[in-house]
Amino acid sequence: MDRRKRVIPKAIAVSGLHLASIVGSYGGSPPARPSDDSVVLERLPATPFSRSQLALVREELAKYPENIQLVTAAANSYIKLGKSTGDPRYFGYARAALEKWWDAPDPPIEVARFRAVIKGREHNYNGAIDDLKIVLDREPTDAQAWVDLANYHRVKGDYALANEAADQLASFGTDFQNAVCRGSIMVVTGSAREAYDLLGGQLAFARQEFPGSVSWLLVMQGNIARILGEFDGADRHFQEALQQDVDDRYARRAYGDFLLRRDRPEEALKVLGEPSIDNGALVLATIAAERSGNRDMADTWEAILDDRFRELRLRGGEPHGRFEAQVLLEVKNDPAGALEISLANWDRQKEAEDSRNVLAAALASGDRDAAQPVIDFLRSSKTEDRELLELVEQLEGR
């Protein structure tokens, strides 16, 4: 590893008060002594592995850092932990297990798979796509890798490339795999109705074979119904998804967003619950609290969001542009700032929320021209999304 001495000249590092007023202190509560030994300071998430199991993996890994089976097992368990807890430090642990090959142009295929997952989590879609290509060069019938590849291209708005990946999968994938892979692209490229039927057609099979995927299919159907303006149907699908799995964070967020946009903030608040972990849900809940007149709640959550964003910046990172744009537009009433952030985010990813953020911010700030690339993109991809089309109409003054 490149270890070099880093010397920061005082003149640059310290700009006196200005830095102090921007950075402030590090935030966090002032250090204190809890009143009693029984005070709970932290609740650890439930994990599929015990601490001793993890300790064993770590020790073994330290002894044999190049044993690919061990590396794979460790990365796999950490990624599972990261997904089940939502805590990114586990993705850091997984990355450490892969460290020897992290920048290698020609890593073992297992390593390339995990690298893609970790890079995808960090929103490094191009890096993830490169790693998936390494996997697919060597194993052209890896269904998972084709599904992922199509998905990253879709998130980036490269629908032709996404369809190419889906075409590759079509030659050997199962109906279920193909429906999930192709359906997600069809939704945003003018075939939402067909996608609705295609995914709905897999429900019976999914209930039988993959009960864990049912709520996802229902959320997809809810989203498609919403896109088509069939709001009652969408409502039903979201509710069914939540009945299927009450803890499904994605279902909660999708339904919460739907209710908020349908001007039902009180219901959105109930559905989103106490959104402590998930920034996306927290942003929606803050907006819902504000719109439904729960000012104290909105203020508390806004402060948490401010802290999280600031602490991310302190460590040299950036908050997710999608969330920051929503906060600026709908909580802080700063449409110009929201427009700037949402446009930068839209350069990286082009899902419906990302497009909506730009359109709404452009409308609020009166800068119609700024939204033109988004409008052109939505037109050329033949979007049927009712809410997006309404925003476009307002922008074009019709």
């Binding site: 920061i8 935030g27 002594r33 300071l41 650890l44 997904k83 269904a143 599904v147 602490e311 929320e353």
Partner: protein, 379 residues
């Protein structure tokens, strides 16, 4: 469906879900630890905040495995924590290696959960001029971990980031020269006037009638520029005198007032002056009003100064600098407003639209501020 294919597809689905909703990715921030160094005192002090989740992974805190980390469990691991953490931190001040000793263990919270606060004695003097930090906590198990260093000496603070690529972080801590401190605070003072619309409007409202005088029930333009100047100098001087008194009283901690009360009263002061311009009912002349409300504006300046932080060693310098900055900012406004007002004073336009219309507008604005500040809400 056959076993292996099924498990393959299942794992495909697990990954698929996270991809379709990529926003889940940054639900938390990754792991950080915070090193807060405070210089300027008798010895250099250090507080090191490490996430309880990281400590759980490093040394194990949850002894009864109930997934709740209690204060009792954390305290019980004090020595183990100290041994592990101090093995990953080296601090050198002016070439002398610090003998790090854990003096106390406290608790704090950040946006991502609970942190253990290791209160460390360094054995280094508080006035070391250069510091070197070698830090490798967690890097071996988590390359995305970062060490965040915050050095503070009075109002002067600096901020650094340590990543796995940083072999040693070296930075200077020598106190900035008094001239620099002075300059920085002057700039802050000017800046505050520039962005503090309420102070500007209060002053403008007081100055609008300076080019006029009251004759019976109507306003007449003053004859000479020097007459207007005299009134202005008197108003600005007493305003300065008044707010300097309270600024020094508040900044030195002798008097404190709740900031909401201060902000609301500042808004109120603008309304009073605006109304008095339209209906001169107060038995007070401009300079008296300036003095009376100048006292409350001083508390407003003091609140800003408190937010900036005052370096204890250079309290007088920074306070004087800030005060001077405020006056310079104020002078700039006077230099723009007064000549313009003087030139226009004979016109009906000035008396009707600028003086009366302007006072009404400013009064309405201040009314909105008053409402917002009293009810702590946006209009």
């Amino acid at each position: 469906m056959k076993g292996p294919l099924r498990s393959c597809l299942l794992s495909a689905l697990i990954v698929l879900f996270t991809l379709i909703f990529p926003e889940g990715a940054r639900a938390h921030k990754p792991s950080d630890s915070y090193l807060r160094l405070v210089g300027g005192g008798a010895s250099l002090s250090l507080q090191w905040e490490i996430s309880l989740k990281d400590l759980e992974m490093l040394v194990g805190l949850d002894s009864d495995r109930d997934r709740n980390i209690t204060w009792g469990e954390l305290k019980a691991k004090r020595d183990v924590i100290a041994a592990h953490a101090l093995g990953h931190l080296q601090l050198v001040g002016d070439g002398q290696e610090a003998q790090l000793v854990m003096e106390d263990l406290l608790f704090s919270e950040h946006s991502d959960g609970g942190y253990a606060v290791l209160v460390l004695g360094t054995g280094l003097p508080g006035d070391v001029e250069s510091l070197e930090i070698r830090y490798d906590l967690l890097f071996a198990v988590d390359p995305t971990h970062r060490g965040l260093v915050h050095y503070q000496n009075g109002g002067d603070s600096s901020h650094y980031l340590i990543s796995p690529d940083t072999e040693a972080l070296v930075f200077g801590t020598a106190p900035v020269s008094p001239w620099r401190t002075f300059f920085v605070y002057v700039r802050e003072g000017v800046w505050h006037i520039w962005i503090g619309v309420d102070h500007i409007l209060f002053l403008v409202c007081l100055l609008l009638p300076a080019v006029l005088f009251r004759e019976g029930k109507s306003w007449q333009p003053v004859e000479s520029f020097w007459q207007a100047c005299g009134t202005t100098v008197k108003i600005v001087t007493v305003f300065t005198l008044a707010h300097s008194i309270t600024l020094w009283l508040a900044a030195s901690g002798h008097v404190t007032l709740p900031s909401r009360f201060v902000e609301a009263t500042i808004a109120f002061s603008i309304i009073v002056v605006a109304i008095n311009n339209l209906y001169p009912i107060l038995p007070l002349s401009g300079w008296m009003i300036a003095f009376l409300f100048g006292l409350i504006h001083g508390f407003g300046f003091a609140n800003v100064l408190m937010d900036l932080g005052l370096s204890s060693g250079a309290l007088a310098i920074s306070l004087f600098g800030f005060n001077l900055g405020v006056e310079l900012g104020q002078m700039a406004i006077v230099l723009v407003v007064l000549p313009l007002a003087f030139l226009m004073r004979i016109t009906t336009f000035y008396r009707r639209f600028v003086f009366q219309g302007g006072s009404i507008l400013i009064g309405i604005m201040a009314l909105i501020w008053l409402y917002e500040r009293v009810w702590n809400t946006d209009f």
